[in-house]
């Protein structure tokens, strides 16, 4: 039986706006076990990135804030930590890889000094020791000629290489939890595979838990142990990776699965989910997905369903199953 590393309970995150607070996340709950990968999928604007930023306590300031809920990391509630305690945790216990490797590195410093800085802040490494550890990290993420690359600058590296550097930076202090926010979206398909393989092997070797955010279901199939499907700030289906592909239950999940290129046969049109994600200040009454759902019933337009346990390890938020 594996231990739980992080447990998010009823997380509510809001943004201040001129028309009052807007709830971006509404009662998000999930947990990640040690050494496991949770995939979070959903369309743009469904709250995937905000979930990760809430955990990191890096919500866009001054408008974003956590309204209620708990984020228990090894039993400690992250929402209650002071900002300096949080700084000690970031990069050290919880690390993050960003979507855009091209801009996530500081252009005026060499690769080595940027990785070295993290090591200095958290591990108090200096001088030769620091440089050796930096080169070791670069080697670990599969960068050729690490002793040369360490002195190069971000503009001299390709996107895939920079993403490797970002991963090396994120992993340099052996974090327990790695949050990967669409780490492969900005990369070529061939590089994507390499980066995914890399994260996978590092996860196995270092026993790191990963929260993997993506909108690519193929990547989920490759990486995740469990999957949470999000729609408009709520989790609508939460289950294991096998179940999500073999036995999807929520109409939204089914829609997502049907909209993949794999399902397109010759001379066939790509199926898509009709309509658009409603804006957050214009939430439909009842189920958020009711406006686009093909199986919409009367009750769907009236009341929001709960996230219910339908089978062991399979929770769905839909009136079809109650």
């Amino acid at each position: 039986m594996s231990e739980t590393l992080i447990k998010v309970k009823n997380l509510v995150t809001s943004f201040k706006s001129s028309e009052g607070p807007i709830r971006v996340l509404d009662g998000v709950s999930f947990s990640i076990d040690k050494g496991k990968v949770l995939g979070i999928v959903g369309e743009s604007g469904c709250g995937k990135s905000i979930t990760s930023l809430s955990i990191m306590r890096l919500l866009p300031q001054p408008n974003g804030y956590i309204e209620s809920g708990e984020i228990l990391y090894n039993g400690v509630d992250l929402t209650k930590l002071s900002s300096s305690e949080m700084e000690a945790l970031r990069g050290n216990d919880i690390s993050m890889i960003f979507q855009e490797p091209m801009t996530a590195l500081n252009p005026v410093f060499s690769i080595g000094s940027q990785i070295g800085e993290v090591l200095e802040v958290h591990k108090r490494l200096k001088g030769r020791e620091r440089r050796e550890k930096t080169i070791e990290m670069l080697k670990l993420v599969g960068i050729p000629r690490p002793d040369k690359i360490v002195d190069e600058y971000p503009h001299q590296l390709s996107g895939g290489m920079r993403q490797r550097v970002m991963i090396a930076m994120a992993l340099s202090c052996d974090p327990k939890l790695l949050i990967a926010d669409e780490p492969t979206t900005a990369l070529d398909v061939t590089i994507q595979v390499q980066i995914l393989e890399l994260i996978k092997s590092l996860k196995d070797n270092l026993n790191t838990s990963v929260m993997f955010i993506t909108h690519d279901l193929g990547v989920i199939a490759e990486m995740a142990d469990e999957v949470a499907v999000m729609y408009l700030g709520r989790i609508v289906e939460y289950t294991t990776v096998d179940d999500i592909f073999e036995n999807p239950m929520h109409p939204y999940t089914m829609g997502l699965l049907c909209a993949r290129l794999v399902n397109v046969k010759k001379c066939d049109k790509l199926t898509c989910i009709p309509g658009m994600v409603p804006t957050l200040n214009n939430r439909p009454k009842g189920c958020a997905f009711s406006t686009r759902c093909t199986k919409c019933m009367d009750i769907c337009k009236e009341e929001m369903p709960e996230l219910k346990q339908i089978k062991p390890n399979h929770k769905v938020r839909c009136w079809l199953y109650s």
Partner: protein, 302 residues
């Protein structure tokens, strides 16, 4: 000629192979070296700086040596640029004046850059109430008419070199604070800043180690041009008798000799040389500053 070029090219290629990392600064230096006007400016500035440092070695008279037997002497072999109303050697005073003018320009700019960069960066990064307070202070300082304040302060404390540097530094920091703040506002939303926060760096480290180095290009350009402005202001204030006090020579207070009409007409060697020095120095600095801006701005492709 072509052989030499080929040899240097080969050397350059070899150097490239040996050094694995080319920083953005090295690229800028390369660009700068190709700009002839900027290099000319740098050369003139280098000569002036050397003259200022080694002033005692290249002059044969004492700076303040008064010789009443030789007043208003025209340029001759003994006195290259003649003598002034007290029989002091003009060339000697001009060389020593370089020291004063350059150091006033550099120190006052350094003061304004230090204050401006720190306040601008902190305000821009933290935003909110801190930013509002700093920017209102900037607005207030920008309302002060420079010469009026400088004259009043110099009038109260009496003319002195240190006070002159301090006034000029304190009155000119708001401009650089605005430039830095504007840069920081765009930089703080760049992903590498977010990534640094995600890696657990605190605000102080992010401001000083990640944001300020990225604003260095406009700061350096502003600082060079600020030195030219400082030299001009010093000349202006000294001319009005509110800057550097006699007997210390500066280009400004040497120029004030030309206030006298008979000097203006018949003793040209008292005011033309310091005037030319101011002109050449400011021009060289401006050429160099322009070159720096072109070299440091990646958007300009040569």
């Amino acid at each position: 000629m072509s052989v030499i070029n080929e040899a240097t090219d080969k050397k350059a290629i070899l150097n490239k192979k040996n050094s694995s990392g080319i920083s953005p600064w090295q690229i800028a230096v390369k660009k700068l070296k190709k700009n002839k006007l900027a290099m000319f400016g740098l050369f003139i500035l280098g000569v002036l700086a050397l003259a200022a440092i080694f002033a005692p070695l290249i002059t044969s008279y004492d700076r303040d040596l008064i010789n009443m037997a030789k007043i208003y002497e025209a340029p001759s072999f003994n006195h290259w640029l003649g003598t002034d109303e007290l029989g002091r050697d003009v060339y000697t005073r001009l060389v020593y004046g370089t020291r004063i003018s350059l150091s006033v320009g550099i120190v006052s700019t350094a003061v304004s850059v230090i204050i401006g960069v720190i306040l601008g960066a902190v305000g821009g990064y933290l935003g909110g109430i801190v930013d509002a307070i700093i920017m209102r202070i900037v607005d207030i300082f920008m309302c002060f008419p420079f010469y009026l304040i400088a004259i009043v302060v110099a009038g109260i404390f009496g003319p002195s070199l240190l006070i002159l540097m301090a006034i000029m530094g304190i009155l000119s920091w708001p401009k650089i604070a605005r430039i830095v703040r504007a840069e920081v506002l765009t930089l703080k939303h760049r992903e590498f800043v977010e990534a640094s926060r995600a890696l657990g760096l605190n605000s102080r480290k992010i401001i000083f180690k990640h944001i300020i180095p990225n604003t260095m290009a406009p700061i350096i350009v502003y600082a060079t041009l600020g030195i030219a402005q400082g030299i001009l202001s010093e000349a202006g204030l000294s001319y009005l008798g509110l800057g550097v006090k006699q007997p210390i020579p500066s280009w400004g207070n040497m120029l004030s000799a030309a206030q006298n009409f008979s000097v203006l007409v018949s003793q040209w060697w008292l005011w033309i040389p310091p005037g030319i020095m101011v002109l050449f120095t400011v021009l060289s600095i401006n050429f160099f500053g322009d070159g720096l801006r072109d070299a440091l701005d990646p958007k300009i492709i040569q």
